[in-house]
Subunit: 94 residues, 2 copies
Amino acid sequence: MIKQLTNEELQQGLTTIPGWTVNDAGKLERNLTFDTFQAAFAFMTHVALIAEKMDHHPEWFNVYNRVKIELTTHDAGGLSKRDLKLAEAVNKLV
Amino acid sequence: MIKQLTNEELQQGLTTIPGWTVNDAGKLERNLTFDTFQAAFAFMTHVALIAEKMDHHPEWFNVYNRVKIELTTHDAGGLSKRDLKLAEAVNKLV
């Protein structure tokens, strides 16, 4: 079982991942727009490799040059350090 | 401007793309489940290359081993032959 973040840990964590918010579903969310589909999918491919290595995967939606990413930890029943870590890794790419 | 399919063309087209339905939003939709995230993303990568070549892109959602694909043609204000063609190409992969 992975531990859910405390509210304090979450608030602290959010300061380290600009662009991410907690959405109505309680998930970390970031929306990105690229110049082209190629650029959007290249980004997704990069995130996919990182996610697979972390064994922590996003819920994400893509249409053309837009990508919406949502993060949560099912095993924690909410947000965990894993989500912050993946969000940080995404931010390093963009 | 790309022509929208007539209802007859759509009904005929649907018979050639098993697994696809027209959803409430009037888009072609197919839901696929793979064994792993690796398999799901490998499939998405293959579709991405085909879509880019066709210059016709899906709206899609992925979480772990599941992929939901929706097709529509914005320039036609609805479904067009392009959607049928991309749906057929997806079916050849799965």
